[in-house]
């Protein structure tokens, strides 16, 4: 999602400087039952038991993952009966390791399921009705249902809490009108997490409610949103008198912001730079390949020396991003998340833009061509060829300093939440939402 409401998020618990410091445990702590008797060995045993009953090498993903859910090994940090065992989230890794150890075939979370499994499930288990939990948790984990998230709006980007999509109560239903944007997977999703304004007469954070929307409901229109590369990673979603049963509301009426924070807290965003990669690996490696394979002769000796120095700076930046990310994870493990996480998000955006600019400079005249072309199409432009990747990322990376919180908002967060600098005078607080100027 391109929005970044946790960036602004006055309501975010102090514990997490921003969502990059927050893991699933934010939720699990609440729902964790003490079962001291269950330790790592017990988990491994239960996993092997699961494998005895259904083995990935013999069944398909849905069958296996449904069984994994029934054994409480889907979200071990969820309560028993909801795909979990009420344990610490760290045991999820134990389950995965044990499966990998005993099966050539594994069925990890599918990329397309990341929103439902990573963000939807924790929200559902915390705020959903009993009926919805029982019905939907297994299906989201099994991959049968794809979820999407609908928070951002054209008029509510950095200021997502100012959103204007309305939901009006009508008997046992809510009638939704408005528009959302930057919605990944909306065109294939069964369920959508929707935040809408149910009360315009209170300050913006207090008038929001959270709904689970069946994307097949009449009045929901999904349109691809094409971007700088000609591709559409995201969608726009329009609501025209869309009706949602009241029991699809998560939390209470007016609690929408709080529920939304839970969703975002659980967004599984790798801390900047995917720190687990080795030196010279990760985002820097295409540039290193391009540099080593560059056509010589185009640059003068001096030009080579200058560009080489620039490439070396890019290497240093990505290397330090990697180390900073490792430090961030170490700090989180140690239970005292420092500034490293927020720092990494801001730094990564700026570093990656420079990184791909330099890659084009290394390509020289070859950077003048764009072989992939700009036909409008849906999808992500993944490629392994360093040159094509550089040309794609040169364009795509412009959004790095916008999506998931603009660099400007990140600097506010670092300044206010990390450094403790005072905020600015606010004209949109303690004022009914309907009285706050909007574009």
């Amino acid at each position: 999602m391109l929005e970044g409401c946790v960036r602004e998020g006055e309501a975010v618990p102090r514990v997490a400087n921003n969502r990059y410091d927050a893991g699933p445990n934010e939720v699990s702590e609440e729902s964790m039952s003490d079962s001291p008797q269950i330790g790592e060995d017990e988990i491994r045993q239960r996993t092997r038991k699961l494998l005895e009953q259904v083995h990935p090498e013999k069944v398909d993903a849905v069958t296996f993952r449904r069984a994994q859910y029934d054994h409480g090994l889907a979200f071990v940090h969820f309560p028993e009966g909801y795909g979990g065992l009420g344990l610490s989230p760290k045991f999820n890794q134990v389950v995965a390791d044990e499966i990998a150890k005993n099966s050539k075939v594994t069925y990890p979370d599918p990329p397309i399921g990341v929103i439902g499994i990573g963000m939807g499930a924790p929200t559902l288990v915390t705020y959903g009705s009993e009926k919805l939990k029982k019905e939907l948790l297994p299906r989201v984990f099994s991959g049968e249902d794809i979820w999407c998230q609908m928070f951002s709006e054209p008029g509510a980007g950095s200021d997502v809490a100012g959103l204007a999509t309305t939901a009006v109560r009508d008997g046992d239903e809510w009638v939704v009108n408005g528009q959302k944007v930057w919605t990944t997977l909306a065109h294939v999703a069964k369920w959508g997490m929707l935040v809408a304004r149910t009360n315009p007469d209170v300050p913006k954070h207090d008038g929001l409610s959270y709904f689970l929307l069946d994307m097949q409901t009449p009045g929901v229109e999904v349109r691809p949103l094409y971007q700088i590369t000609g591709e559409a990673e995201f969608n726009e979603v329009f609501f025209n008198d869309v009706r949602i049963p009241h029991d699809r509301m998560f939390g209470e009426e007016g609690q929408g912001w709080r529920v939304a924070i839970t969703t975002l807290m659980n967004e599984r965003v790798a801390i900047g730079g995917g720190g687990s990669t080795k030196k010279g690996a990760g985002s820097i490696s295409p540039l290193l390949k391009l540099w080593k394979g560059r056509a010589t002769g185009q640059l003068s000796t001096a030009g080579e020396a200058i560009l080489r120095d620039t490439v070396t700076q890019r290497y240093i930046e990505t290397e330090l991003l990697r180390v900073t990310s490792i430090r961030a994870r170490a700090a989180m493990k140690a239970g005292n998340p420092g500034p490293e996480g927020s720092v990494a998000k801001l730094a990564q955006a700026e570093i990656h833009k420079r990184l791909w600019e330099t890659s084009i400079d290394v390509l020289g005249n070859d950077g003048l061509s764009f072989e992939a072309g700009y036909e409008l199409r849906q999808g992500f432009g993944g490629t392994d060829n360093p040159e094509s990747l550089a040309k794609y990322q040169f364009l795509r990376s412009r959004a790095n300093s916008i999506e998931g919180g603009t660099s400007e908002i990140m600097r506010n967060i670092l300044g206010e939440r990390v450094l403790g600098l005072p905020g600015e005078p606010r004209v949109d607080k303690k004022v009914p939402w309907k009285d706050v100027p909007r574009s």
């Binding site: 930057w182 949103l225 020289g364 959004a399 603009t406 400007e408």
Partner: protein, 372 residues
């Protein structure tokens, strides 16, 4: 008397006329339409520019049917074209090729070509970059072979602006005399023209392959020095175009910052955005200073114009790219979408930064010229 880089009322009128013309003929819609075509520009508009506006022959002497005006007028025109992101063969034909003919060609050859260019009949371009990728004259390696009075060209030329649509291609190639200029017709035998899929769809480039391609030598003796002047003047004009594009990006960003409200305030009231715009303004004003100095010096025949041209291309390239990128950032998510024009300027900015050599190349040239 020293130049003070100020414009006359005539210049201002010219600017207003061009801006109005481009508002009609080069709207965002028009630009997107041309981007999608193979040709890349509109023949009807070009005809109008040539016949009604006299733009095709702007710097061509009146004796050859041109307007015979100077580089200050060219500067004004290029600024406006850059601002409107005009898709046209102006840079290739009216600037690059015209300068090449004026500087390097024999009088007869000049007459032959310039009249056609000035009337808009002839689209022309210069092909000098080769596989080695160098933009300076020193990079020219292609050798022309003589057969009696006839000449033939073999080899390939790269990054030829409008190379796939030009009626006449001026090719820089080596003879025993040095670097000379050859005229090749679009339909010449053994000429293969391939339009490349461009990063910047508003200006098309082509790769040209020559095999035993008949060519007419239109220069007398080594043109290395003259070609260097042609390239210097072309980057001065391009710098003016970049400045116009940069000013437009600043204007877009400022307008959006005034009207886009978040947190109950125009985002331009936040110093994060306001100061970004202020820094963009400083860069744009400096870019103007660079482009203006280069073009005014050319207009006045200053001896050290080449140094100012190098400054202009290096500074205006960096400024245009930076403000085009910041314009996307200030527009947030919308600035990153296909439907918003911000990316069109961003791509034009990067492409024009690479065309004719990148900033550090021109800083190196400058360092040499000022003896660092």
């Amino acid at each position: 008397m020293a130049i003070d880089f100020s414009f006359t009322d005539e210049h201002d009128e010219l600017r207003a006329t061009i801006r109005q013309f481009l508002a009609d003929k080069s709207s965002e819609q028009d630009v997107r339409a041309q981007m999608a075509t193979e040709t890349g520009w509109d023949r009807a508009v070009w005809a109008q520019m040539a016949e009604e506006m006299g733009l095709a022959g702007l710097i061509i002497p009146e004796e050859f049917g041109g307007a015979g005006v100077g580089y200050v007028e060219l500067l004004v025109v290029m600024e406006e074209m850059g601002r409107a992101l005009l898709c046209s063969p102006f840079l290739s034909t009216a600037v690059l090729a015209s300068n090449a003919v004026l500087e390097c060609a024999s009088e007869a050859a000049q007459k032959d070509l310039l009249v056609g260019i000035a009337t808009g009949q002839t689209i022309a371009t210069l092909a000098h970059v080769e596989e080695n990728g160098r933009w300076d004259v020193g990079g020219i390696e292609m050798r022309a072979s003589q057969h009696g009075d006839d000449w033939q060209l073999d080899g390939s030329k790269r990054c030829v602006i409008d190379g796939h649509t030009a009626d006449v291609i001026l090719v820089a190639a080596k003879t025993d005399a040095g670097v000379e200029l050859f005229r090749v017709e679009a339909n010449a035998a053994g000429l293969e023209r391939t339009s490349i899929p461009a990063l910047d769809l508003t200006r098309k480039l082509a790769t040209l392959e020559f095999s035993k391609t008949p060519a007419k030598k239109i220069s007398q003796g080594d043109q290395a020095a003259s070609l260097a002047i042609v390239l210097a003047r072309t980057i001065a004009a391009l710098a003016a175009e970049q400045t116009g594009g940069a000013q437009k990006c600043l204007d877009m960003a400022v307008d959006y910052a005034k009207t886009r409200l978040q947190f109950g305030r125009p985002i331009g009231s936040f110093q994060a955005i306001k100061h970004k715009c202020a820094d963009m303004l400083v860069e744009v004003e400096f870019a103007k200073s660079a482009a203006y100095q280069a073009c005014f010096e050319i207009a006045l025949g200053a001896a050290d114009a080449s140094a100012s041209c190098a400054i202009a291309k290096s500074y205006c390239s960096e400024t245009y790219f930076h403000v085009a990128a910041e314009n996307i950032q200030i527009h947030g998510g919308m600035g990153f979408t296909w439907e918003h024009p911000a990316h069109l300027y961003f791509k034009r900015a990067k492409a024009s930064e690479l065309l004719f050599g990148d900033p550090s190349h021109h800083r190196e040239t400058l360092a040499g010229l000022i003896g660092l």
